[in-house]
């Protein structure tokens, strides 16, 4: 079950967000070994966890957080624009009200399957990404990922375009890319992952749209200008 959290409903999800920050630390630091983001309190939080962030939380039967991701409007500072601009060396970091930056896409190790085979948690997150993009009429989602994910996405026939050459320094090579969130892509994803219905509830979709309009009607327009 996927839940959407924005600043409008964050107060209802305080304990779930707390679980998410701890899961992120476990997956990214303890398991993937990103020592540079290790935190003494075991909660992985950075400057892109702010009141512009939209979270997807995947909950299991016991309502525990077993997967998550976050979205940032690309007109605001994002992980891609602030931390990885050097690998967007084709046309710079793309910014528009029709692009969001997606980061910290994780699933609990307990639910992960074979490498390259998405678990139900990852599939819900992926479907959510496409549903989100379609609901807001986005061009796509930018993100920074290891090169191997680009391989998987091409294997899944996703329409994904790199924003520059990968850096050849980090383990696995980080590459910035834009995933185009089109209706045929969502349809194909549902077909291949066995999803029969949308993972985002109508209520949460309404929240996403209202939040998007509010953000872009106020602060972000100023940022863009």
């Amino acid at each position: 079950m996927l839940r959407v959290v924005t600043r409008q409903n964050a107060s209802l999800y305080e304990d779930k967000l707390e679980q998410m920050f701890r899961l992120r630390h476990r997956v990214l630091v303890d398991i993937a070994g990103w020592e540079e983001i290790r935190q003494p309190d075991g909660r992985e939080i950075d400057q892109f966890d702010n009141d512009l962030t939209t979270y997807f939380l995947v909950l299991d039967d016991k309502e525990d957080v077993v997967g998550s991701l976050r979205m940032q409007p690309s007109l605001a500072p994002t992980l891609t624009s602030e931390v990885f601009p050097s690998i967007c060396d084709i046309e710079g970091v793309p910014r528009s009200d029709r692009l969001y930056d997606c980061s910290r896409v994780i699933a609990a190790p307990e639910v992960s399957q074979k490498e390259g085979q998405p678990s139900w948690v990852t599939s819900e997150l992926h479907s959510g990404m496409f549903e989100f993009g379609l609901a807001l009429g986005l061009e796509g989602l930018t993100c920074v990922l290891e090169v191997k994910w680009l391989h998987y996405m091409k294997r899944w026939n996703w329409d994904v375009r790199p924003l520059g050459l990968p850096d050849s320094v980090s383990e696995g090579g980080s590459v910035a890319a834009c995933i185009h969130t089109t209706a045929p892509m969502l349809e194909m994803l549902r077909e291949t992952r066995g999803l029969t219905s949308p993972v985002i509830s109508p209520g949460d979709l309404g929240l996403i749209k209202a939040n998007h309009e509010l953000m872009h009607a106020t602060r972000l327009t100023k940022l863009a200008a």
Partner: protein, 236 residues
């Protein structure tokens, strides 16, 4: 300007409609990067021979390499197994990996004009490993070359596999729901019963089972169950 040239190839790779066009676009990029010889192959032995071999290495060298099972001794392959990053063959020399038979392989490659270059560990998952090697003689900085080749190879490999209709061990075979439904098919349950167990409609169960049958190209539900067992998608 390796990034723009690489992007041109990436865009072309998504557009091309035949393997020939893909290869032409790839070789055009390589030419602009100053690469004349390259080879892409699977080195893990999980695919049937020939399914994924492509390139213009000297034919005699390729034949010898295959006949003598040089991939077991090749230091470049050994290194590709240990890193996801593209590397310079110089690194293999510097790391002292060229001993015994590994040195023989490298020396013999040199006799065929393959002396300096880069290798991209294309893709590694669940025992599958493909490697692309490029013989390079130019003055583009090594890190830019490695990055360009790593990115271009993602698109080349993905499209080549698609044109040749190759499936990999890491491809999802059945969806989780199809797997669940087949499990109960194996227990002798009807669609209606499975629907009750999984709390989904009988029609949905029917669809899942039909798709699993189509996936394995078998006429009956019990055969689909047996195929799923055979492909280790289900356990008894």
């Amino acid at each position: 300007m390796p990034s723009f040239q690489t992007m041109e190839f990436v865009d072309a790779a998504d557009r091309v409609e035949t393997e020939l066009e893909l290869v032409q676009a790839f070789e055009c990029l390589l030419k602009r990067l100053g690469i004349s010889q390259y080879f892409l192959g699977e080195v893990s032995g999980v695919l049937p021979d020939e399914v994924l071999r492509h390139g213009n290495w000297n034919e005699e060298w390729v034949a010898r390499y295959i006949e003598r099972d040089y991939h077991y001794a090749d230091a470049v392959v050994a290194k590709a197994k240990s890193t996801p990053n593209a590397f310079d063959w110089e690194a293999v020399r510097e790391e002292g990996l060229l001993r015994g038979k590994a040195k023989t392989v490298m020396d013999e490659a040199g006799e065929f004009g393959i002396r300096s270059g880069y290798t991209v560990p294309v893709f590694q998952a669940n025992g599958y490993l493909a490697v692309a090697s490029f013989e390079v003689d130019n003055d583009i900085p090594a890190d830019r070359m490695r990055a360009a080749l790593q990115l271009a190879t993602v698109y080349f490999h993905a499209r080549l596999l698609a044109f040749r209709d190759v499936s990999l061990p890491c491809d999802a075979q059945l969806t989780p729901r199809q797997r669940e439904c087949l499990h109960w098919v194996g227990a002798g349950k009807t669609d209606w019963e499975i629907g009750e167990i999984l709390k989904i409609s009988e029609a949905t169960v029917h669809t899942h089972v039909e798709k699993a049958k189509r996936h394995y190209k078998v006429p009956s539900r019990i055969q689909a169950f047996v195929e799923a067992l055979r492909h280790h998608e289900l356990r008894l």
